[in-house]
């Protein structure tokens, strides 16, 4: 990992409250290992907000790194004000990657809310390897989606209010999708309640999977010990170091 003052190439709104930023960083791109890894961003130099913001990598192409972020506080709000040719302080790449043993399984990718970022990244990298996947992206309402619902292409959107795609959560969509798939393995990222629901369902059906987990963290490199998630051993994993990707049965949300 490095800390890089990276030049912004693009910073645009792609859906309601959802933005995409592309910045240049050979240092981070060279060290990047794959989908699942994240960067941690310092939005301004003053100390009003002392902590970096962890954000999953949505794509790496040549020396360009993309992130997709949701605006939900003053820090992400001020992130939207940055323009191309501005510089941003980025720490990364951090964490581990999804591990897809695609010879034996059929990948079903699930992204909820801003959790779609590593999921789209994984989807792209699998497509480049010629591996077919089914993708489910969930949001509250159609405004928050920027992709097209396209079941013929194995791309399923769902919304809580039914304004686009399947009416319901990613769980309803997953139930529909699973009917036609043999040897599925689930790769999911999203809010904790969503992952918890998926975990219970996979457990019941004995389906394997991996989660990319979200967490508050102060450092992103295992020092602050802030990003603990319960394991099955009466202890904790650190999301930043042992994760953010875990086998679905390695973490506990209860």
């Amino acid at each position: 990992m490095i800390i890089d003052k990276s030049e912004i190439i693009e910073n645009i709104q792609i859906a309601d409250g959802i933005w995409q930023m592309v910045f240049k960083s050979s240092g981070i791109a060279d060290r990047y290992l794959g989908a699942g890894q994240f960067v941690s961003i310092l939005v301004d130099d003053n100390w009003e907000h002392p902590i970096r913001r962890p954000m999953s990598i949505a794509d790496v192409k040549d020396n360009k790194v993309s992130i997709i972020y949701k605006v939900f506080g003053s820090v992400t709000q001020s992130l939207t004000q940055l323009k191309s040719e501005d510089y941003i302080d980025v720490l990364g790449p951090l964490g581990n990657t999804f591990n897809v043993d695609y010879n034996l399984i059929y990948p079903i990718l699930i992204g909820g809310g801003i959790g779609l970022s590593p999921i789209l990244n994984l989807s792209k990298s699998l497509a480049q390897k010629g591996i077919g996947v089914t993708t489910i992206i969930g949001a509250k309402t159609s405004n928050e989606h920027f992709l097209q619902h396209n079941p013929n292409n194995n791309m399923f959107l769902c919304t809580d209010d039914g304004t686009v795609g399947i009416n319901g959560t990613v769980i309803e969509a997953l139930n529909i999708v699973l009917k036609d798939i043999k040897n599925p393995k689930i790769f999911a990222c999203g809010p904790e309640p969503m992952l918890f629901s998926i975990q219970k369902m996979l457990d019941k059906k004995s389906i394997p999977g991996q989660f990319s987990v979200e967490s508050c963290m102060a450092c992103g490199m295992g020092i602050c010990q802030g990003c603990a998630i319960p394991n099955n051993n009466n202890g904790y994993h650190l999301v930043c170091k042992a994760g953010p990707v875990f086998e679905t049965n390695e973490v506990r949300f209860d």
Binding site: I2, P50, I51, L91, A218, C219, I223, Q225, G226, A228
Partner: protein, 310 residues
């Protein structure tokens, strides 16, 4: 003629450090496992994460949340325990190019003593101990000792008998009069005082109607607590003659000068390490620059040199 390189050497008790910029316990691991871009040889010393007798897994999440100019944490002294520390970490200190001070915590006086004795029995590569009697995030030991002058005195007296190495006591600001605790640990034979540990705080999530941290109360750190830390260091410096290591919201060289003027002989960087673990090196450079610009031969000329209004 002035030297090109400012002399930053620092002496606490009988130990000489490269410079007065140390990293605070819990913000720099055990000095290992840091990113490769961090040059620890630039630091005066590293204070390890608190070591307890048994391994501790720490508190349930959420453990950390940002606050205006600061953060709340309640990690709960998660650490590998003294046996693993001796087996896996202490051997690494043979090749480390800075001084190591081991922070010790416990639930009882016996636990503190056992941890210190065990480390004493194996290693000469560390220069001393920082005794944590000020952690706000554990139920026993920690702060309940640090708010009581008699209990603090008793513990430090016992620990003093066990070691000739540097014995530093880390104090909590969550007391009525920190001078009383400082006096008590000086009387017990402490070589230095580090101040301050985190300030008790709380955050509330109005959507969930829950505290932002699992354990409800947590430790506030970062620039938000610097004014408290400066006041505490200043008060302690009026009471004791042993050196004070100032901690609390230091993010740059100017902040170091503030703590020196308040009466600190050295400082520790805490929260700022989370944002950039290499900030220590930057702060050393900034301190150097300040001294050169102000034609100060040695930083110790600044210690306690505050001009009060009356």
């Amino acid at each position: 003629m002035r030297l090109d390189l400012t002399d930053l050497t620092c002496k606490i008790g009988s130990v000489k450090f490269k410079n007065p910029v140390f990293t605070a316990s819990g913000t720099f691991s055990y000095g290992n496992d840091l990113p490769e871009f961090v040059d620890i040889s630039m630091l005066g010393a590293i204070i390890t994460k608190s070591i307890t007798y048994e391994l501790r897994v720490g508190n349930p999440p959420p453990r950390i949340v940002e606050t205006p100019s600061g953060m709340l944490n309640s990690i709960g002294l998660a650490n590998i325990g003294v046996n693993n520390f001796i087996k896996d970490i202490i051997p690494l200190y043979k090749n480390i190019d800075t001084k190591i001070i081991v922070n010790i915590a416990g639930s009882t006086n016996d636990e503190y003593i056992k941890v210190l004795k065990d480390i004493e029995s194996v290693s000469s590569d560390i220069v001393g101990y920082e005794i944590n009697i000020s952690c706000p995030n554990v139920e026993h030991g920690g702060m309940e000792l640090g708010v009581d002058a008699k209990l603090s005195n008793k513990l430090i007296t016992e620990l003093r008998k066990q070691t000739e190495k540097l014995l530093i006591v880390k104090l909590t600001p969550n007391v009525t009069d920190i001078s009383k605790i400082a006096e008590a640990v000086e009387e017990a034979g402490a070589d230095a005082i580090s101040a301050i540990n985190t300030v008790i705080g709380m955050g509330i999530d109005i959507v969930k109607r829950k505290p932002t941290i699992y354990k409800t109360y947590a430790g506030l750190s970062g620039p938000a607590i610097k004014p408290i830390a400066l006041a505490m260091v200043h008060k302690i410096s009026k009471t004791v003659s042993i050196p004070i290591i100032g901690i609390g919201g230091i993010v740059n060289g100017e902040n170091v000068v503030e703590f020196l003027l308040a009466g600190a002989s050295a400082i520790q960087i805490g929260t700022a390490n989370f944002r950039n673990p290499n900030v220590g090196e930057i702060i050393v450079d900034e301190l150097n620059q300040y001294l050169k610009e102000n034609e100060i031969l040695h930083y110790s000329e600044l210690i306690g040199k505050l001009n009060l209004y009356e």
